[in-house]
Amino acid sequence: MTEKGIGAAVLRREDRRFVTGKGQYVDDLNRAGQAHACFVRSAQAHAEIRKVDVSRAKSAPGVITVLTGEDVAADKLGSLPCGWGITNKDGTAMAEPGWPVLAQGRVRYVGEAIAMVIATTRQGARDAAELVEVDTSPLPVVVQATDAGKKGAPQLHEAAANNQCFDWEIGDRAATDAAIKASAKVVSLDIVNQRLVPNAMEPRAALAEFDTNSGLLTLHCACQAPHAMRLLLGAFVLNQAEHKFRVVAPDVGGGFGSKIPPYAEYAALCWAARRLGQPVKWTSSRSEAFLTDAHGRDHVTRAELGLDKDGRFTALRVSTVANLGAYLSAFGPLIPTYLYATLFAGQYTTPAIHAEVRAMFTNTTPVDAYRGAGRPEATYMLERLVETAARELGMDPAELRRRNFVAADAFPYQTPVALLYDSGDYAGALDKALELADVKGFAKRRAEAAKRGMARGIGYSTPIEATGAAPSAIAGQLGARAGLYESAEVRFNPTGSVTVFSGSHSHGQGHATTFAQIVASTLGVPYENVEVVEGDTARTQFGMGTYGSRSTSVGGSAIVKACDKIIAKGKKIAAHLLEASEGDIEFENGNFTVSGTDRTKNIAEIAFAAYVPHNYPLETLEPGLNEQAFFDPANFNFPYGAYICEVEVDPETGFTRIERFTAIDDVGNVINPLIVHGQVQGGVAQGIGQAMFEQGVYDESGQLLTGSLMDYCLPRADDVPSIDSGLTVTPCPFNPLGVKGCGEMGTIGSTPAVINAILDALKDYGVSDIQMPATPLRVWQAIRNGSAPQAAE
């Protein structure tokens, strides 16, 4: 019965519909009489809107209506909400300027929606959008966060003096300053963690419907957290009560964080459908996605690591300027603060840490979570510093790490930056990685490559991350404006099958399979008898959705909790049927047995008795077998790993190829190894993308130069290697499954390993630093500018 339970590499049950083209993504849905929306967007990064003339557009064929910022104001729609507030160093609240659904008076980034054209056909809406005349007068533009605070910089918002959203800090500044001063060695780096565009392959899409009889508004949209979407849009923007508002996220083609926020288009569609009493549909083009999907990263950082004479880390001091874009996206402020600086201890015992982060508004697309969200930025900074220190000290980077690891017997371990690490054996993972990567054989491979004229390098990274957001009480103290538990309902049907409702949402992660495995193991029912339902506020009681690698540890744990309640009730029913006392009933493998006897009832029989209660303790127990649970974790969980990358650089051209990539991850107990490895492989490719290929580039007028897949380089099959991945298992003590998140490790761990490897390959050329992405041009230039004499040849 448990052959498809926890730990088994079960093939995914959701595959069949996808490989046959029967997936149902939002753009695949259509409704009778639906209208189509097209957004008129700002072509300027910063401008005063003088007039929006919609008269020609309104009279174009097939046009139903054209709505603008004035209509938004007249209908009193709220501002797009921010889900996390940050407190400044001085105790004041962050600046929180509003973000109207359609621009009012001013536009602040290229792509900002100014008007919405609604027509009977998609093409008709697009054609009419061309006829909307927007009269603007341009304003000066600022795109770099490091320029935004300068004197005389163009000001974006009245509510944000000097374009500053917040100026925040964490850790002990005095202790850190003193420890840095007393260090035998200080290593420092200036790091740009470049802007990335998430690019889930399915563009965002939405279909809104309004039932004028019942007043029910239904939004189908490509999102990661349908209940959160309903809560934020309904309460803050649309004034639509939740019992009259249903959000459905059907098949969703990837998210990576970019499908969390309650975007303007979704609010606009709901509003239009409600006004018109007619379904309205919109699907983003890729070009629109580049301009309007929340971007990721975009930090400029100065970091210093102090070491004593034995190579022990004494202190870490970090100062970061983060670019939030033109407006506050839903979790924009959270990313460069609590998801970033709290990770600065890494896997190490650094005793003193201080970080300060200034977050700035600029005339660019708003920035929010992108796979890893803050943790890749932290890990990149730290792992680059560690490897730089090793190089400068002439130490083996593995040895330097080992010397500073939190020891396996030191858990739970309190870091100086707020987190309590749960469990781990960091040296164990590193040892395994060294072996799998055949580091012993590297010198030979390097020599062999040199004979071919190639520079071969090896780079390490030992990442840790915090997943499973979050203990709600802690999150609340830190500024969260929502709870962060997850909910589940486990419903036995009368004839023994089970329907599981989860508040998580799968957009590639395979929950329908994984969650069914969990239930099969926990309740001892056949895997095939378990169905998983997600993504519909009308079916699932509540949920916070999927992001931050939280689904199995938080959502899966909620399912276990509901299963436990099923078992507890089942024992009562079994005791009645078996004429024994409840305390004597044991549950194992789906059977309720009177302890020490062979008198037993299986769980399907119990379920039947619960729904057909002819012989049932009705005076003390309700019929039915259907339990709900909310799980709010006591702590985050802390997956970690050891990554080793080997590259070859052609010094003539700068062309770099990853020859080997080894990823050892510890994600606690594993429910489905097939899926875990898949998550790591996909994550690694995205991390390699940041290291070598991807960059969102604005020119000084605020135009996104990398606005299509022709200009923004997503890794293709031939750009990335096969991944040698392996697992170690250190269960997490803070959830019943003992699991840790696995969705982001690959992205977090791989980027520094790649850059460290490239720098190792280039060390003989006198190159000690390179900015991302390390394109052939940058690598070639670095070699040319390097201090080694042969570089000038």
Binding site: R12, D15, N199, A685, Q686, R716, A717
Partner: protein, 155 residues
């Protein structure tokens, strides 16, 4: 508006379309075959790959009217009598998909690859041949494995 007729997955279909209608829009919006996806507007992603007269084609690069009289196979036409095509089966068995959005295009490209290059495909060939298909989820590792296995199974 012109009427365009073609054979899609063995069935005669025809519809009145605006001349500017792309083949992918014709398939999705006019005859309701939504398995072929649109992932970009610059012909980069390959989510829209179908077979036209036996050859793989990005269906966002061709007007429907250019396909008058053509024979088109989409992802929906690959499984015969309810049994998965060996390439579809291989993607399933090798976890060659996550969100599934790129998958139809990947599978259609893969089948074309095998038809052109035979059943023995090494990793390097597969990776190079996939230059027109982007996947953001899998890191390609399992897609490459799927295609090698699917190619074998297509013998």
């Amino acid at each position: 508006m012109p009427t365009v007729s073609m054979t899609v997955n063995g069935k005669e279909v025809s519809a009145e379309v605006e001349t500017r209608t792309l083949l992918v829009q014709f398939l999705r919006d006019h005859i309701g075959l939504t398995g072929t996806h649109v992932g970009c507007d610059t012909s980069q992603c390959g989510a829209c790959v179908v077979h036209v007269d036996g050859k793989a084609l990005k269906s966002c690069t061709r007007l429907a009217v250019q396909c008058e009289g053509a024979s088109v196979t989409t992802i929906e036409g690959l499984a015969a009598n309810g049994a998965l095509h060996p390439m579809q089966q291989a993607f399933h068995e090798n976890h060659g998909l996550q969100c599934g959005f790129c998958t139809p295009g990947m599978i259609m490209s893969a089948v074309d690859m095998v038809e052109r290059l035979g059943n023995k495909l090494d990793e390097k060939t597969i990776r190079q041949e996939l230059e027109g298909n982007i996947c953001r989820c899998t890191g390609y590792h399992n897609i490459v494995k799927s295609i090698a296995a699917g190619a074998e199974a297509m013998k």
